[in-house]
Symmetry: C2
Subunit: 316 residues, 2 copies
């Protein structure tokens, strides 16, 4: 498969339509007032399984032939891709083997089980995750569905941007979080083809700034540390996502942990919706005034709403 283009994104949108929500796009008069900008929030926290990840996972599964699915699918993930893949696999009634670090949160594990996924626990290291996944694939014959370094995943995640600009025209900016880069790269492909005057920006926690470093150095940086409240953004880019991001994204901007928490609190208390820390990084850029945006029309993808309500960033 080649790099996704608008045709593959539209095909993905048609394929996944019966299984996902066309999520609402909302505004907040308070946030409009304090930012002096028109900000539109695409609510992927209201998406099936609580994040945009179901888009890519469903497209990846629906793009495989039934005979490729006969031994199931497999991935390693401690986050939203885990439950998304389990749910997407259930559509095709195929097995989903999810390798999860044994210190994964109870809530995340329960979500995977709720959607019918088979959890295989491993040590909480990347090495153990990769080795365990390799073993699972050898034992079962399952097909690996990588969380982001996969063109079908990227085309699936891009459908959020497609819905966005179908409803809101002439955005000056669109901002998405960047972790592994599936959402950002897909968004960039869709936007640059359909709305070339809209700038595409990735938002990343400064403590895990590997995407920022890769973008500015032109070379794929390895993972830095994983010390951020935005647990969905602790991964680093893959070669496929990096190539698209380097060619199509206008900028990657980093933000402090404090600004992420502040943005999350603002969205919770003013908009009365639950988002996870990873979804707050985009508004955090604006709160920290890292770019000029006065009077602009800005789109933000609120990537997810899966948060442990017993362990909130401000209650620590």
């Amino acid at each position: 498969m080649n790099t996704p283009d608008i045709f593959s994104i539209v095909k993905a949108a048609i394929k996944i339509a019966p299984y996902i929500n066309d999520t609402p796009i909302i505004t907040s008069s308070y946030i409009t007032q304090i930012t002096n900008a028109s900000i539109f929030f695409k609510c992927e926290n209201f998406q099936k399984t609580g994040s945009f990840k179901i888009r890519g996972a469903t497209n990846a599964i629906m793009s495989l032939h039934d005979n490729q699915l006969v031994n199931g699918v497999a991935t390693h993930s401690s986050g939203n891709h885990a439950s998304a893949l389990a749910k997407a696999a259930s559509i095709k009634k195929c097995k989903a083997y999810i390798v999860m670090p044994k210190n994964s949160s109870k809530i995340k594990c329960e979500a995977v089980k709720y959607y019918g996924g088979d959890i295989i626990y491993c040590e909480p290291t990347l090495k153990s995750r990769e080795e365990t996944l390799k073993q699972v694939i050898e034992n079962t014959g399952a097909i690996e569905i990588h969380p982001y370094n996969n063109y079908n995943i990227i085309a699936g995640q891009a459908t959020a941007a497609l819905e966005f600009i179908k409803n809101i025209n002439h955005l000056n900016l669109i901002i998405t979080p960047v972790g592994g880069g599936g959402l950002l790269s897909g968004t960039a492909i869709a936007i640059k083809q359909l709305s070339p005057n809209t700038k595409v920006i990735g938002a990343e926690p400064i403590t895990v700034n590997d995407a920022f470093l890769s973008f500015y150095s032109g070379e794929l940086h390895p993972p830095t540390n994983v010390n951020t409240i935005a647990d969905g953004l602790r991964t680093s880019l893959g070669d496929l996502t990096f190539n698209i991001i380097r060619n199509k994204v206008d900028d990657i901007i980093t933000v402090s942990e404090e600004a992420i928490i502040e943005a999350m609190k603002l969205i919770w208390t003013r908009m009365k919706i639950i988002i996870e820390p990873s979804a707050a990084v985009c508004l955090a850029i604006l709160l920290e005034k890292k770019i000029e945006y006065k009077n602009m029309k800005i789109g933000i993808i609120l990537s997810g709403g899966n948060v442990d309500i017993y362990n909130l960033p401000w209650s620590k």
Copy 2:
């Protein structure tokens, strides 16, 4: 003014339309599944000022002549009516004097100030609240706007039910929280005229069951205690709301604190929206299986979303 009827409710709806949100009505596939019922949630947590109270307050203000507003309006409230009245008064550019107990939460006080209200602090007793309000009215000539025992308030709160049944037909049940009874009595008037086959039920914390006792004894009970997590429901009925409730409401059902917290957590984690504990009592009835509702079509008014995120019921 006579008891509100459908005509006064429609008039209220027209008067307040420019200043309020026609709030969304949403469903949750998970909650549908676990309850075996079609439950529709009317999201007054997304209402201006974060609760339905702005409906009544705006109708009360817009129903007064300009010369009645010249010295402003006044009330005592530590809750959602306080900021709602401040915001509604700001539409008419009149003063709003809000008597608040000096132990009111910082967040509630800040909301009143944000909307331009003048706070007068008093001791945290009903006696001090009433005496201070009386003094304020004597000093300023302001007109009192009671939080619920006022027909314009009741007609205003009823507009939520009007929007509800305009969008969702043939509900078997509609459930609202009951504190002072403004929302429940207004809902009962609207529903019994427009959809007489729909049962109207009030949900009340068992620890503050004065509405339940009044409803079943036929006599207005005084406040019981104020020991509930549902801080918006600590008030007791007034004579106006009681009369309507006794004649038009089908039942009042009480729920435990545990069920309220469970319902709140379910709505937060599954629907990804922020509601306050008072808004959770309706779903709590269903979780406790206090009524037969299998396969029914049920409307629930989620009354508000103003919650102190630093002090959540499950983090205590």
